[in-house]
């Protein structure tokens, strides 16, 4: 059996007394596309942060290639945050060139001459793919929210990380552009052998994009103390092989959401 790229062994995440995630046991192989759905506040972003290295598991082992997950972010794991995370002081093109520039020169983090021209061309191609071909010399504040999100995606993808973490990246996009983004992510996922974890609130999107769909939910739920028990992966579906269970899943998630928000 091959070594999984990510493996969780009885992982818990607690903030003080509040249990956010509990008893996570799961293996993910390289190249899988995992989509994650779940009620708001049930710990999806927290899970992504643990994969990113900015949050550590309170108990259990979180393994990357069989070794402990590095406790800080690095170039192997790219991310697009829920909130816009592009650099406000750089134009769109410079934002996309950033990864290349950083690896070009360890001290200045800038590229010069032919290297720079190559990076710029690459950035232009990537910008065109996310539909920002005309916006290269605009600053983020001159772009709409959806455009900034696409820029963030371009910026992360050009680095070609092994693992790509997406936190509701398409929430702010209109349906047309959303479909283009789906195609983009899928084609890059296929061509780069990425392993993707993507949080979404849209079950259909989860079914369409993923090879595997996880539902985060509180299996045990105390209405008096919602923080007493954490969320687990209650469904782990190989998408495409199971009959769609959209309606019943939606109903269950809505129940948990009502308790968490009440």
């Amino acid at each position: 059996m091959t070594m999984p790229i990510i493996e969780l062994k009885n992982v818990w995440k607690e903030y003080g007394k509040e249990v956010v995630l509990e008893r996570l046991n799961v293996r993910v192989e390289e190249g899988e596309f995992v989509t994650i759905v779940g009620a708001s506040g049930c710990g999806k972003t927290t899970f992504l942060k643990m994969l990113l290295g900015t949050e550590q598991a309170s108990r259990g082992d979180l393994l990357l290639d069989g070794a402990a997950m590095p406790a800080e972010p690095d170039g192997a794991r790219g991310i697009v945050f829920q909130r816009y995370s592009v650099m406000p002081h750089l134009t769109a093109e410079r934002n996309v060139m950033l990864a290349g520039e950083l690896s070009a020169n360890r001290f200045l983090g800038r590229a010069f001459g032919a290297r720079r021209r190559a990076l710029r061309e690459e950035a232009q191609t990537m910008l065109a793919r996310v539909g920002l071909g005309e916006a290269g010399d605009k600053y983020p504040h001159e772009l709409s929210g959806g455009m900034q999100q696409r820029l963030a995606l371009a910026q992360a993808l050009i680095k070609k990380p092994r693992i790509l973490l997406l936190d509701e990246p398409f929430g702010a996009l209109d349906p047309g552009i959303r479909r283009d983004m789906h195609d983009l992510v899928l084609s890059l996922w296929r061509s780069q052998k990425l392993t993707v974890f993507m949080i979404t609130h849209d079950l259909e999107e989860g079914f369409y994009l993923g090879t595997r769909l996880w539902v985060f939910d509180k299996a045990r739920l105390d209405v008096q103390a919602p923080g007493a028990y954490g969320a687990r992966i209650t469904y782990d579906l190989a998408v495409g092989e199971c009959p769609p269970m959209l309606p019943s899943l939606s109903a269950q998630l809505a129940d948990t959401a009502r308790v968490l928000s009440g």
Partner: protein, 272 residues
């Protein structure tokens, strides 16, 4: 009729309204000065505009009888040089330390208490020490400006650096950046416009320290001159000098603001 709070003056009205207090002030001065001069033509307290214009012309365009210098320009050059060196050095030191303490937790833990402590020392209380240590020459005056405003700039930049969203710092690391690269590609460029606004805010105190130091020990300089002619009650020289200093301060502030909006458009768009 809209509520008063929602009514905006037109551009012309706004300019006229803004000029109104100045006009009123001038009018007040003219009538007070006129009344005093009518009573006593030798009155020195509120000189007429013509007297001030003569004095200004004498200072600016006639060589001094004793030294052959054009005093206003000699004074201006001396003062601006002190101010420029003092504020320039303060900005440079402030930027280096502010970025370092604001970005790297270990440096912050080491230096931040020291900077906070230093910023609480009243700089004017150190002036005698500076004169003893550096003599009565240029260095003491520059040092006073430096000591007076650097702690503020460092603390301001540190606070601004801490406001940089975590997401951006994390994002840069996922793009492969090391600590140094985060400083030069994220902290430093984002803090440059902040530095300019910190410098703009500290120009007022910098002038204060400059004039205080010049008043006590100097042989030339704008502050030296007004305190010198005070002995002869020469309001006709003091008032134009004060206006001149104010004008210089205003122009510096304007230049910094213009430069900042031109060079860092993204920053000023965020501010709105």
């Amino acid at each position: 009729m809209k509520k008063f709070i929602n009514r905006q003056p037109s551009r012309l009205t706004a300019v006229l309204l803004g000029l109104l207090p100045f006009a009123l002030f001038l009018l007040l001065y003219l009538s007070a000065s006129g009344a005093r001069l009518a009573e006593n033509p030798d009155d020195r307290l509120l000189p007429a505009f013509s007297t001030m214009a003569e004095a200004f012309e004498r200072m600016a365009f006639e060589p001094n009888r004793r030294t052959g210098e054009y005093l206003l320009w000699t004074d201006t050059r001396a003062s601006l040089q002190r101010l420029g060196i003092g504020v320039g050095l303060a900005a440079l030191i402030g930027l280096v330390f502010g970025v370092a303490t604001g970005t790297v937790p270990y440096i912050r833990a080491t230096l931040s208490p020291l900077v906070t402590g230093l910023s609480l020392v009243p700089p004017m209380a150190l002036l005698p020490i500076l004169f003893i240590a550096f003599g009565l020459e240029e260095l003491a005056k520059v040092m006073l400006i430096l000591i007076g405003i650097t702690p503020f700039i460092i603390r301001d930049l540190q606070a601004r650096a801490l406001e940089i969203p975590d997401e951006q710092i994390i994002k840069l690391q996922t793009l492969g950046a090391n600590t140094w690269q985060i400083i030069v590609r994220l902290s430093l460029p984002q803090l440059m416009p902040r530095l300019i606004s910190a410098v703009r805010l500290s120009l007022g105190p910098a002038w204060l320290f400059l004039i205080a130091a010049e008043a006590i020990a100097a042989t030339e300089g704008l502050g030296y001159r007004i305190f010198l002619v005070r002995r002869y009650l020469s309001m006709d020289v003091i008032l134009p000098y004060v206006v001149w200093i104010t004008l210089l301060a205003f122009l510096m502030d304007l230049a910094l603001r213009r430069f900042s909006t031109w060079r860092y458009p993204w920053f000023h768009a965020q501010q709105r």
